[in-house]
């Protein structure tokens, strides 16, 4: 069974976090679910909070 990965978008700069790809350069491995990213993590582009990302439908 394959996991349904989701995408989240930063409200400030439009950067997209794709769970399937992760952000390896930021220390977030591919396949990391958004909810498993630490709460103090910030947007690598603009430093917005994790809570400033919204689910992309």
């Amino acid at each position: 069974m394959s996991i349904q990965y989701k995408k989240y978008c930063c409200v400030t700069c439009d950067l997209v976090y794709d769970e399937e790809l992760g952000f390896p350069e930021e220390g977030i491995a591919p396949g990391t679910l958004f909810e498993d990213i630490p709460d103090d993590w910030t947007c690598p582009e603009c430093s917005a909070s994790k809570s400033d990302f919204f689910l992309v439908e």
């Binding site: 400030t12 700069c13 439009d14 220390g27 910030t42 582009e45 603009c46 430093s47």
Partner: protein
């Protein structure tokens, strides 16, 4: 109920409005702006030509969406004429002149490009791109041009150079310093960046200034301080910005290089605050997006919850140069030395103060993967 009044619809002003709404859904908020009020991400302005984006394409949320999503009043295309800090009012001019009373006033009025001491009848043809409307005009003007001269090889200048050569323009870069991004990285890295650009597309002139711009038919004749003359189609100035302080100064609010605020973002006048590019804290103006985001979050808490000081962690900024990936974390401590390791183009540079503490860093090439490690090595800047 008196409203919270925010002047400015840049990143700082709009982020503050959003953060206030996170805490309180009801408190009245009025945002006043000279611009159209649409939200856009300013760093995109220096990398949008190669993506073929129009000014409208860069709008992330138009003003009507912002008004309804945030439940705030936005007065667009409106100038603030003056502030009366005794009566707690701002006088605004749109078609009419009116006075708005505030409970708290937040200045998020940004910064303006430096006015260069340039001679010649082409001085007014020198453009700069500091907001979305500037970009709209720039995009229109550049369409039929080919040779573009950029004054300044800082963050904005180098990103424009990269964006424009990638869009088939012939680019000339002129900077007073000896290498690009001099304030943020050492010479080896600056040279690495220069070498990453194709030599037949980008021409560099370091250690000189533009002294004169003269009209010559549809072209511009540019004279450099070394005496050299160049003929180009367009001149773009990216020499940096200075905080907008006049409005504050006229209202007897303390200003220096920026509007002076303490660690709570308070000016010397009760109920008046400043954030973003217009503010100065402990002698520092804090450009870039991220410090403004942190300031907006702290101030929202101060205004609607409990007093909260601004604390900014170390922040690494990616410079968008596809030919040479570059990440910098500029030091607030200006005294110190660069210690560089690696071989071109993959350098790690640490900025060390007199106590051998790492207070900033820069990374190029493959070394950008070391960002998280370097961020941990770096001491947290103190703003008090």
């Amino acid at each position: 109920m008196k409203p919270i009044v925010i002047i400015g619809s840049g990143h700082a002003g709009i982020t503050l409005a959003r953060e206030l709404r996170v805490i309180n859904k009801e408190t009245p908020i009025i945002l006043i702006t000279q611009e159209s009020g649409s939200a856009y991400y300013k760093p995109n302005l220096s990398k949008a030509i190669s993506l073929g984006k129009s000014a409208d394409d860069l709008v992330m949320k138009n003003v009507e969406t912002l008004k309804s999503e945030l439940n705030i009043f936005i007065k667009t295309l409106t100038r603030v004429e003056s502030i009366d800090t005794e009566k707690n009012t701002v006088v605004i001019k749109n078609r009419l002149i009116e006075s708005i009373i505030y409970k708290e006033l937040i200045l998020a009025i940004g910064a303006t490009p430096f006015d260069l001491p340039i001679e010649g009848d082409g001085k007014n043809d020198v453009v700069s791109v500091n907001n979305l409307d500037d970009y709209r005009q720039f995009k229109e003007k550049i369409t039929n041009k080919r040779n573009i001269l950029i004054i300044g090889a800082g963050f904005v200048g180098i990103e424009f150079a990269s964006d424009l050569f990638a869009s088939d323009y012939q680019v000339t870069v002129v900077d007073m310093e000896a290498w690009p991004l001099k304030k943020a990285l050492p010479q080896q890295m600056g040279e690495t960046i220069v070498n990453s650009f194709p030599k037949d597309r980008v021409d560099w002139h370091f250690g000189v200034a533009v002294t004169k711009v003269e009209r010559q038919g549809n072209s511009l004749d540019v004279t450099l301080s070394c005496g050299k003359k160049l003929t180009v189609d367009m001149v773009l100035s990216a020499v940096g910005i200075r905080s907008n302080t006049c409005l504050a100064k006229d209202a007897k609010i303390k200003v220096n290089r920026g509007i002076v605020v303490d660690e709570y973002l308070r000016t010397n006048i009760n109920n008046v605050y400043a954030i973003g590019d217009c503010a100065e804290i402990s002698g520092h103006t804090l450009p870039f997006i991220a410090p403004a985001t942190f300031a907006a979050k702290a101030l929202a808490k101060t205004l609607l919850a409990e007093p909260t000081t601004l604390n900014i962690p170390n922040l690494a900024v990616a410079v968008k140069i596809p030919t040479c990936p570059t990440v910098v974390c500029p030091s607030l401590d200006l005294a110190g030395n660069w210690v560089v390791e690696g071989d071109a183009p993959d350098f790690i540079a640490r900025f060390m103060n007199a106590e051998k503490t790492v207070t900033g860093f820069a990374l190029t090439g493959k070394a950008i993967s070391q960002k998280m490690t370097l961020l941990k090595e770096c001491v947290t800047p103190q703003l008090r």
